[in-house]
């Protein structure tokens, strides 16, 4: 069970709290985690990854165990602390005023 923390607007779209859980087979990667998130919450399709490029949307960032993984390739395996649920996977919206 992987824990995922969503930004406010995605919580509203998915009708969830701030943290959700998704099941994932190992070896889990960034891509398979987002696949599982979208399968469980179809309303999030296209909101984390762009439909056209299939890449992370530029104003979102991924954090893993205190490290910024936003620029890591989507094929990178997730560490045990994430796959075992010890630490949540963070999806964070870039901070901006207005």
């Amino acid at each position: 069970m992987i824990r995922v923390v969503l930004p406010y607007h995605l919580q509203n779209l998915a009708h969830t709290g701030s943290e959700v859980e998704v099941e994932l087979d190992v070896p889990a990667t960034l891509a398979s985690l987002i696949d599982a998130l979208e399968a469980r919450y179809p309303t999030l399709r296209g909101t984390v990854r762009d439909y056209g490029t299939n890449q992370r949307r530029p104003f979102l960032r991924f954090f893993v165990c205190g490290e910024d993984w936003s620029l890591e390739p989507l094929s990178i395996p997730l560490p045990d602390k994430i796959t075992k649920g010890d630490e949540p996977f963070l999806i964070i919206g870039a901070i901006a005023g207005g």
Binding site: H9, R45, T47, D50
Partner: protein
């Protein structure tokens, strides 16, 4: 009893404003989709309870919302509350937010780039839906004008969208250049008399027409003159801000261009200027009285550099002669220290016996005139910046 429902899209959510036929007392509902930009909302002409909304942020992209109960509840098409949201295999049952350009060799040609601000070619990139135009006879068919400019259509109530690639592919697409606000397809007009004819407008490519329901398109910009482009009389490249027509006279179109208010009486084959005595012929909105096809409304803005009313006076201008002779309408509108803007999709008219005129401002006001423009009142004063205003006349 008759009444009206005003659909207001703002920079931070959507609102509905409802009233009876007197249009004096109003009920305000919202915000819906709080915190998101709602570029446009519109109801189906054949089912007024069927509404569509374009919800967007740069963070999370494009969401299409639909209501089947007049705006009380909303859902993403295909994910209606209480219905399964995914297949047995765990895949989503809908792709209502998926707007992908047609790049197939057969129909997409492929159309991979358009002209960028500096004259170089730039990839076509979907950003948002600017305008939703429901079909005149089918509540499940809607046309969407998007940025970067293209036209999409759904025939399943918004569950899936497909590009009408003949527009980008008619020949001038690679020359289209974005305006300051982006390369947006912002106006879609449907012809009630000729159901295969549609008009669209793009900033800053110009106006285009199809006579075969969207398969093929042609530019209709002859007569436009734009001093801010290398060839002022070019076939394309004009920053058309808005076009409007009266349903009974669909060959007559009125246009608010970047500068100049224009008119055509031959479905866009040739345009002539009707700015006449306007204090400024720069502006964004233009609309036509519901019962008087020759009565036109615009709201002059000072200039392309200063997007607010001349002299700080918010004035709607009305021409009862189809242009050239304009009268200011000021009763109930601020006549000093007013520096708001009125964006291109933020004016609309109802079709009650006494035609109501509506517009919204970047200062968060929505104004109504229940008597064709003679008298104005603010329905609301403090919404987020208004991006769009549509009115439904309810019987």
């Amino acid at each position: 009893m008759s009444g009206v429902r005003v659909l207001v899209g703002t920079h931070k959510g959507a609102f509905t404003l409802t009233s009876d036929g007197k249009r004096k007392d109003w009920k305000v509902d919202g915000p819906f989709f709080g915190g998101w930009e709602v570029y446009h909302m519109k109801g189906s002409p054949v089912d007024p309870n069927r509404l569509y909304a374009s919800q967007n942020t740069s963070w999370f992209g494009q969401i299409i919302q639909r209501s089947d109960d007049g705006g009380k509840t909303w859902f993403q098409p295909g994910t209606k509350p209480g219905e399964p949201t995914k297949t047995a295999e765990g895949m989503p049952v809908t792709e209502s937010n998926k707007f992908q350009y047609d790049t197939s060799p057969k129909t997409g040609k492929p159309l991979t780039t358009h002209q960028w601000y500096d004259g170089t070619q730039h990839p076509w990139e979907f950003k948002r839906v600017w305008h939703l135009e429901p079909s005149l006879n089918d509540p499940n068919t809607i046309y969407a004008g998007v940025e970067d400019a293209a036209m999409f259509r759904t025939t399943d109530g918004g569950q899936s969208w497909h590009e009408l690639a003949g527009l980008r592919g008619h020949g001038t697409g690679p020359q289209w250049t974005p305006g300051a606000g982006g390369l947006g397809l912002h106006t879609i007009l449907l012809d009630r008399k000729n159901t295969k004819r549609m008009f669209i407008a793009i900033s800053s490519a110009g106006a285009f027409r199809t006579d075969d329901a969207g398969s093929t398109w042609k530019p209709i910009n002859q007569g436009l003159r734009s001093e801010y482009i290398p060839d002022p009389k070019a076939e394309i490249g004009h920053c058309v801000h808005r076009i409007a027509l009266h349903p009974s006279k669909p060959d007559t179109l009125f246009m608010q261009k970047h500068w100049d208010v224009m008119r055509t009486d031959d479905a866009g084959e040739s345009w002539h200027e009707i700015s006449g005595n306007l204090p400024s012929d720069f502006g964004f909105v233009v609309d036509v009285h519901a019962h008087e096809p020759n009565t036109v409304y615009v709201i002059p803005i000072k200039s392309d550099s200063e997007h607010f009313p001349p002299e700080g006076k918010l004035r709607v201008y009305r021409s009862k002669s189809g242009g050239n002779e304009w009268e200011p309408l000021t009763k109930g509108l601020p006549q000093k220290d007013c520096f708001v803007n009125i964006l291109r999709d933020a004016m609309s008219v109802d079709s009650l016996d006494k035609c109501g005129i509506y517009f919204g401002t970047t200062g968060g006001q929505v104004y109504v005139s229940p008597d064709g423009g003679d008298n104005w009142n603010a329905i609301v004063n403090n919404l987020p910046a208004v991006l769009s205003v549509e009115v439904q006349t309810l019987q």
